[in-house]
């Protein structure tokens, strides 16, 4: 543990001295590099998904706008399709209060879920499933990502 400037205690993992060795390989270019790379990319996809959730909750319209394709549609179980414009309007509204953040926190607490990510070529799928029912019978929702234009 160490004490920060404000007096708060923090966990210290490690101390590293780093030297830049060159340019990084563009994101997504290592999808065929074996199990380790696959694991990394899956984790990266889940991180993006997590940020998506946070952006929607807290009203980060710019992030959601950058993430979603213009042709994006969110389809509910009843068949209703929600266009990108409606989603961005909803995100903007979420940013005006913590109402959605509280709702989501409450839902997640009441419905514990697991996350799976798979990537095949330029397409990634993130699946959320009920921990109670498992990934084979308890799929709650899925999001499909298309890796476009090296972004």
């Amino acid at each position: 543990m160490k004490v920060n400037r404000d007096g708060a205690a923090y966990v210290v993992g490690h101390t590293l001295s780093c030297k830049k060795s060159g340019a990084a390989t563009p994101a997504g270019a290592q999808q065929t590099g074996g199990a380790v790379k696959s694991e990394e990319n899956n984790a990266a996809l889940i991180a993006v998904e997590h940020h998506w959730t946070q952006a929607e909750i807290h009203g980060d319209v710019a992030y959601v706008d950058a993430l979603l394709a213009d042709s994006y549609r969110s389809v509910s179980a009843d068949g209703t399709a929600h266009p990108k414009s409606a989603i961005l309007a909803s995100v903007k509204a979420n940013g005006k209060s913590n109402k959605m953040a509280l709702l989501v926190a409450s839902y997640m607490k009441a419905h514990p879920f697991g996350t799976l990510a798979t990537i095949q070529g330029d397409t990634g799928v993130v699946t959320f499933y009920s921990l109670k029912q498992g990934p084979k019978k308890g799929v709650m929702s899925s999001d499909v990502f298309d890796y476009a234009g090296r972004r």
């Binding site: 543990m1 920060n4 923090y10 966990v11 210290v12 490690h14 101390t15 590293l16 001295s17 780093c18 030297k19 830049k20 060159g22 340019a23 990084a24 390989t25 990394e40 990319n41 984790a43 990266a44 889940i46 991180a47 993006v48 998904e49 997590h50 940020h51 946070q54 952006a55 929607e56 807290h58 009203g59 980060d60 319209v61 710019a62 992030y63 706008d65 950058a66 993430l67 979603l68 213009d70 994006y72 549609r73 969110s74 389809v75 509910s76 179980a77 009843d78 989603i87 709702l103 989501v104 839902y107 799928v125 959320f128 709650m140 899925s142 999001d143 499909v144 990502f145 476009a148 972004r151």
Partner: protein, 146 residues
């Protein structure tokens, strides 16, 4: 996860990473993180045990420049691997990071940005005990991570 999907079971949707661009009136805060972009070879130790450690860290631009993606891989005998996405939250006016490690743990951090030559991430309320990562710029191609 789509928020609208939280209350209902939903079907698949199509998403393109960074398909749209965002108009900004001035330098984007995320551009202050350009320093990190690239591959870094790191060596150091765990203060608590003095055990030596080596790590490879890669930073890449993502979402059309709206985000920085970081991969952190410790070398043997350690097996920690993590993927991090760093973005600027224009609503909250601070940086946010999601860190996912190989054991599927997920943590959220925030930062006010560069200050005194260092970029500091502080963990969110979901992380107990609190964690902090300090990236100190030493030169254009050397840094320290605490």
């Amino acid at each position: 996860m789509k928020i609208q999907k939280l209350a209902v079971v939903a079907l698949a949707a199509m998403v393109a990473l960074g398909k749209a661009s965002v108009a900004w009136s001035g330098p984007r805060p995320i551009q202050t993180l350009e320093y990190f972009v690239g591959a870094w070879n790191c060596s150091g130790s765990f203060p608590a045990t003095c055990r030596a450690i080596s790590s490879n860290i890669r930073f890449e631009r993502d979402l059309g420049g709206a985000a920085i993606l970081k991969h952190h891989d410790d070398g043997p005998p350690f097996s920690y691997r993590a993927a991090e996405e760093w973005v600027y939250d224009s609503a909250q006016k601070h940086f946010l990071a999601s860190i996912v490690d190989a054991s599927a743990g997920m943590r959220t951090f925030s930062s006010d940005g560069w200050g005194d030559g260092a970029f500091i991430w502080n963990s969110g309320s979901d992380v107990v005990p609190k964690q902090q990562f300090v990236y100190t710029k030493l030169t254009d191609d050397t840094m320290r991570v605490d």
